[in-house]
Symmetry: C2
């Protein structure tokens, strides 16, 4: 990697963490200078504004999250195990979040839904990608005869993602990851009710 590219990448990675911990509005260029050890000039030579950094930082954070999710899915066999593997990426959001500060999708969605249209678009795209992934897994489960064909998979996907993201919020707020564990156990029970009845 050229030195120029390495500095750019350092800004994106360190800013992604800062934004995910402190939020976009509360993170200053000064914070980014301190986290990267770069001068103001070195930062502004690469990015015209904090907004440009924020866009690339979310792309990076979303990619880190989706890589962990895809990799977890790849290690599981059945549809239900794949869904549980996705949840497992957030199993300990207090001590081992997928990226420092928690779930970037949740954090960006809540901070930016009303005020930062570009980041909202990016968070929405990440949310829809996650929904599609979950629904695709459930559809494969139906094809494989693991999940009943009459299940409303779109609604089920929405329910899975909502309860998971809400439990990440609850766990980070209370500094107790048990809320994700509770959602994971309940989702497993729920999904088992969608398995075909034994004849």
């Amino acid at each position: 990697m050229r030195r120029e590219d390495a500095a750019r990448q350092l800004i994106v990675m360190k800013s992604a963490e800062l934004f995910n911990v402190k939020g976009y509005a509360a993170t200053s260029i000064q914070d980014i200078m301190e986290a990267t050890g770069l001068t103001k000039g070195a930062v502004y030579r690469r990015f015209p504004s904090k907004d440009e950094i924020a866009g690339e930082a979310f792309d990076y954070a979303g990619r880190v999250l989706m890589e962990q999710v895809t990799s977890a899915v790849g290690r599981a066999d059945t549809a239900i195990d794949k869904i549980m593997a996705i949840c497992h990426v957030h199993v300990d959001p207090v001590n081992h979040p997928p990226i420092k500060g928690g779930c970037p999708l949740l954090n960006t969605a809540v901070e930016c839904d009303d005020t930062m249209p570009i980041l909202r678009e990016k968070a929405l795209a990440a949310y829809q990608e996650l929904l599609r992934l979950v629904q695709g897994i459930l559809e494969q489960g139906v094809s494989a005869g693991e999940i009943r064909g009459d299940a409303d998979l779109e609604a089920l996907s929405s329910f899975i993602v909502s309860s998971l993201e809400g439990s990440v919020m609850a766990s980070r707020l209370s500094r107790d990851s048990k809320h994700v564990g509770i959602v994971m156990r309940q989702l497993r029970v729920l999904l088992s009710t969608y398995t075909p009845r034994k004849e």
Copy 2:
């Protein structure tokens, strides 16, 4: 109300909306001056800093939310209907949020969990109050013979609040309140599995 108190109350109410829409970090004293029509001096005479306004504004927003929740619960008869009534406060977070900007508990929890200890404490207290309310309703449901005595009510309460708050996030992000509707339908089905089996 004395004029002094009226101005103070105006600052708290308008700031609560601003903070809930834009977030704490992104809201400036200038925004508060514009929303209230007060001068900088008039604001600072009543509050030494934005942090003091933020604390009182969250107290106000939390009170508005809990009043709507308590009132909804009071109009329902059975335990399951009371839980659904709590969810119904968030039934249309896109067009009719309980307070402008969405759920103040969710917004404050996500923005402040890492960076603003006083607001995090307040959001945590509101979350715990909501959990206790839900669990209390479920306990009454057990006493009344509506809900099975072997249900893990603490876990069930956590699951209900997580899935509801996550669906508010999903609905506001996608500008489509259907995600709350999906969670409400699924929670009703879930709760019906906890009703005692007919002999």
